[in-house]
């Protein structure tokens, strides 16, 4: 019974924590501009992330290492430096996006410019990590994140046709015009869904919770269930945008426009539901991202790290996320359009994904780490294919998007 509750909690936490600035921005843009036709990108990203998260848990169980720790051990420090540095850079941009998302939500609610919120929100973020325990932080924000289920309710209220959705999920297509932008969005959706920090973080969590072999099946259930149902929320955002913004001819270039999407379904409540969803989803993601980056740093250089360690006991780890949050706040202060920043950092995520995913795949097939739990050829092919294709598409579409938006 206890195990069942644990699995349920794991799934619920994953669902509540799934949505973030990246998925909201990419899904709403995709729905408003192209209707249902980008759902296949979401499906692709979800399949890949389910595999990656399950593998991440299985890796921690079988090898008793976290992924970053094992990449350093298996490939050596010199090989880790470039992927690590790039991942840190991208993490910083994504953190700035998440921070920006919370600030924009506050701007929409109060009318006070988002830049002015950067420092207060950053301090709130930092303070929470500094004084609270990990469980409170993770589970608290994830449970609050369940408010994002309002998108699913909205999609249902607006009368989305399941048959049409199912068809769009499995048929990739290319529209007659705006191809570069379409491709760019497709790639950003994949980057938003397969956030590397997610599966790196997951292995750290599994080690912290001391998962043993008995957790192999629960891990599979949590990975599949959590990611699947979480992706449903992302899908709902796309569907709602497609049903409310596209018919009005409104493209989502800024969060102000996205804020309109829940009005038809909920009336006045819709405005506030959007704001709360945006704020909570982004805040939760920001917490997780800051921690994930600090974990990565500590595990690369061999520092002491741990969820519940008081800052005094893990000074380098604590200062790592402190500096990270401060830098992200600086980026938000520059006044860069948060939505543009989000979209680009999602696309760049897709570019560097292979740098982390490929070494990870190699580890998943190494018997000295995995024992008998090595990957099946199927898993290897699925992940390798999706990750490489996404990267190539990203490298091609980012420059095209830059020209297109001149």
């Amino acid at each position: 019974m206890k195990r069942f509750l644990g699995i349920a909690l794991g799934i619920v936490t994953s669902i509540g924590g799934f949505l973030d600035a990246g998925s909201i921005a990419t899904s709403s843009q995709a729905g408003a501009a192209f209707g249902y036709s980008l759902l296949w990108a979401l499906a692709l990203g979800t399949v890949c992330v389910i595999f990656l998260v399950e593998m991440s848990g299985r890796f921690a169980i079988a090898s008793k290492h976290t992924i970053t720790d094992a990449i350093r051990k298996r490939f050596g420090f010199p090989a880790l430096v470039v992927p690590f540095a790039l991942t840190m850079l991208v993490n910083l941009l994504v953190l700035a996006s998440e921070l920006g998302g919370v600030c924009v939500a506050l701007e929409l609610a109060t009318g006070i410019g988002f830049q002015l919120w950067a420092i207060p929100v950053a301090i709130a973020l930092w303070l929470l990590l500094w004084v609270a325990t990990f469980d409170v932080v993770e589970e608290g924000t994830a449970l609050l994140g369940l408010v994002t289920l309002c998108f699913v309710v909205a999609a249902w209220k607006l009368g989305a046709e399941p048959a049409e959705l199912a068809r769009a999920l499995v048929t990739p297509s290319l529209p007659p015009d705006e191809r570069a932008h379409y491709l760019f969005l497709a790639v950003s959706i994949v980057g938003a869904t397969i956030a590397p920090y997610l599966f790196l973080f997951y292995s750290s969590g599994a080690i912290e919770d001391r998962w043993d072999k008995s957790y192999l099946t629960p891990n599979r259930l949590i990975a599949a269930g959590g990611m699947l149902f979480g992706a449903l929320i992302s899908m709902a955002v796309l569907v709602v945008a497609a049903l409310t913004l596209k018919p009005e001819g409104i493209h989502v270039e800024s969060y102000e426009q996205a804020a309109l999407m829940l009005l038809p379904a909920f009336g006045r409540w819709g405005f506030w539901l959007f704001i709360v969803s945006l704020a909570v989803a982004c805040f939760g993601a920001a917490l997780e991202l800051s921690l994930a980056s600090a974990y990565a740093m500590a595990q690369t250089f061999g520092w002491n790290w741990g969820e519940n360690l008081r800052p005094r006991k893990a000074a380098r780890f604590s200062m790592a996320y402190t500096v990270f949050i401060a830098l992200a706040a600086l980026i938000v202060l520059t006044g860069l359009n948060p939505m543009k920043l989000t979209l680009f950092s999602m696309a760049i995520t897709a570019v560097i994904l292979p740098l982390t995913a490929m070494p990870f795949l190699i580890l998943m097939n190494d018997r000295t780490y995995m024992g008998s739990h090595v990957n099946s050829r199927f898993s290897n092919i699925v992940v390798a294919l999706i990750v490489l294709v996404a990267a190539v598409l990203a490298i091609v579409s980012i420059p095209l998007e830059i020209i297109g938006s001149r």
Partner: protein
């Protein structure tokens, strides 16, 4: 180790390729309003209409509507048809005054275009 050289090589290649493509694109791209600019302008006009209508129905607070219309006006002024920003600005002013009649009229004018 071979793996490290491989990874570094791949990263360098990808980065260089991306930079080359980006530079080429910027050079070739040139100036002048593109398709995307026209679509963006149209989208912002329609956004202004939608925001004003939502405000009329009492679905969004004035604070938000004001900022959203301001943003729309700014974006339109930057776009291929800067004159389109003026009516949206008028709309914003009417909204700030709380003048529902004027808002309704301006909205129907905008929507007609």
């Amino acid at each position: 180790m071979r793996a490290s050289a491989l990874l570094r090589g791949r990263a360098m290649n990808a980065a260089l390729r991306a930079c080359a493509l980006a530079l080429a694109a910027l050079v070739v791209g040139g100036c002048g309003p593109s398709e995307a600019d026209w679509r963006s302008a149209s989208s912002w006009s329609l956004t202004a209409v939608a925001v004003a209508r939502a405000w009329e129905r009492g679905e969004v607070p004035t604070r938000y509507a004001r900022r959203a219309l301001q943003k729309a006006a700014d974006e339109l002024a930057k776009g291929p048809l800067p004159e389109a920003g003026a009516p949206v600005d008028e709309l914003r002013q009417a909204l700030e005054r709380g003048d529902r009649e004027a808002v309704r009229q301006l909205v129907s004018e905008l929507a007609a275009r």
